[in-house]
Amino acid sequence: MVIVNGVKVSEKEKRQRLTQEKKSRNISAWDVVKISRHPKRPIFQDYLERIFTNFVELHGDRAFGDDRAIIGGFAQIGNQKVMVIGHNKGKNTTEQIERNFGMAKPEGYRKALRLMKLAQRFNLPVITVIDTPGAFPGLEAEERGQAESIARNITEMANIEVPIISLVIGEGGSGGALGIGVGDRILMLSNAIYSVISPEGCASILWRDAKFAPDAAKALNITAEALYKLDIIDEIIEEPTEGAHADYQQIAANVKRSLLRNLRNLSNISVYELLEQRFEKYAAMGKFAVD
């Protein structure tokens, strides 16, 4: 017997569920990787400017620093007030260096958790926006508890008593992404990726050469389409054919529509139900054999 996310699902059922979203696209997983990293691809800041109003940035982890690789604060989307938190890649070299290319350190994850608890105090839903090559793999990050900070976020997000929507807009790089990614809904742009390891990293371990990254990308199932099929994500937000960078207004409109719909759907659930459903959602993830 094969368990698909906790329940037996026939392949037919699976295919039907996908039909509404699936577009016949003739691009490879590696093409998607390249689009997800396109230098002109809209970043968190672009969505902040186009979708959100009245952003009040809040700084600091109250213990060590203010990591610019993750930013967050109060914001409004339509008439809905939220806490929005996201990886902050930067649009040019200066910004990218200041923001460490969206690779957060422990103080970044700890700030994110602080803001989620603040959202709980203010009774606001949380939107997390994911776009990172991964958590920063540096000495000081390791020293100050990169692992601890991600582990704590993943654990405590399970108990945050307001709705959480996670949106993958570009690169969903491993633990660095999941560290703000434990949402009640996981949405993903159609050319975003979400992976346990970078295709290059995987290729250099399992193929002994990073140049096999395209093979690794395919094998890892990192595209929105693949992840929807695997029941990891809840919704794919369609990009323009060439990718989100081709039409900032269009993709922003699509993202906004999706966020508002999902906020609405989550708004009438009691805290008890919300946390039960969140638990069940993650408890159901994975495929394994029994006997």
Partner: protein, 275 residues
């Protein structure tokens, strides 16, 4: 996230081996002495890895351990093939090699009379990597601890998330931590024992979330791989980087316990649970 998976592969003594070469100091130790000393080098105190079964024998009261969820095993749901073949074949080979069906053994038992629920990772099975089956067993055991109000102890030894299951393996971090979160809410102690090596996605999830984090001397514990970090910062890292001793100094480990004292130590800690 599995930079270590290949890096460390402990050679276990074969039946016929007369002596063991210590990986810590290179000394040659008689196999019988090595075994008697719990796979710890009598010369340099290097703590060599143990199988899950060896650890059960070491820590649990005789005949008290009952395995749970033993019928869970991995599936190659992505049809993952790399240069060296299919994940499917690897699963079968690892089952055969280790005699267990997943990288973790779960169950309940008693340590000097104190009932606990436990999950014990076995590094022999796919480098102790965190796959869907591993995550399922660790969560089920957490739920068992939750239902019965028993302390939960996880012994980690892992190269991290299991790449061959793609994001499914990444999500096991959230899945297992959801179990820990429920224990936290109900004030049920969770003790994490981080063994050599505990790295990547396992360190960045349940292994680091113990109410107590305990380790053995010299255990390597880290998130990013040493080589990756050296590439990032462009310099060589200190020798003790990512050892249990280093993590204790930096505030992430409560105590480093010698293997031969682990049973007494855990029983002592458990004696403080007052519900």
């Amino acid at each position: 996230m599995s930079w270590y998976t290949k890096a460390i592969e402990e050679k276990k003594p074969q039946k016929k081996t007369l002596w063991i070469k210590c990986r810590g100091c290179g000394a040659h130790i008689w196999a019988s002495e090595w075994k008697q000393n719990l796979s710890v080098c009598p010369e340099c105190n290097y703590h060599c890895s143990m199988t899950a079964q060896e650890r059960i024998n070491l820590l649990f009261d005789k005949d008290s351990f009952h395995e749970l969820f033993e019928n869970i095993s991995p599936v190659d749901s992505l049809n993952f093939n790399d240069l060296k073949g299919s994940y499917k074949d690897k699963i079968e080979a690892n089952k055969k090699k280790s005699g267990i069906l997943e990288s973790v053994v779960t169950g309940h038992g008693k340590i000097k009379g104190f009932s606990v629920v436990t999950a014990i990772m076995d590094f022999r099975f796919l480098g102790g990597s965190l796959g869907s089956g591993t995550g399922e067993k660790i969560l089920q055991a957490a739920n068992f601890a939750y239902d019965y109000g028993l302390p939960y102890i996880i012994f980690s030894a892992s190269g991290g998330a299991r790449m061959q299951e793609g994001v499914l393996s990444l999500m096991q971090m959230a899945k297992t931590c959801a179990g820990v979160a429920r224990l936290n809410k109900k004030n049920i102690p969770f003790i994490s024992v981080l063994l050599n090596p505990t790295t990547g996605g396992v360190t960045a999830s349940y292994a680091m979330m113990g109410d107590l984090n305990i380790s053995e001397p010299g255990a390597v514990i880290g998130f990013a791989g040493r080589r990756v970090i050296e590439q990032t910062i462009g310099e060589k890292l200190p020798d003790d980087f990512q050892t249990a001793e280093y993590l204790l100094e930096h505030g992430f480990i409560d105590a480093i316990v010698q293997r031969k004292e682990m049973r007494d130590y855990l029983a002592n800690v458990l004696s403080y649970y007052n519900r």
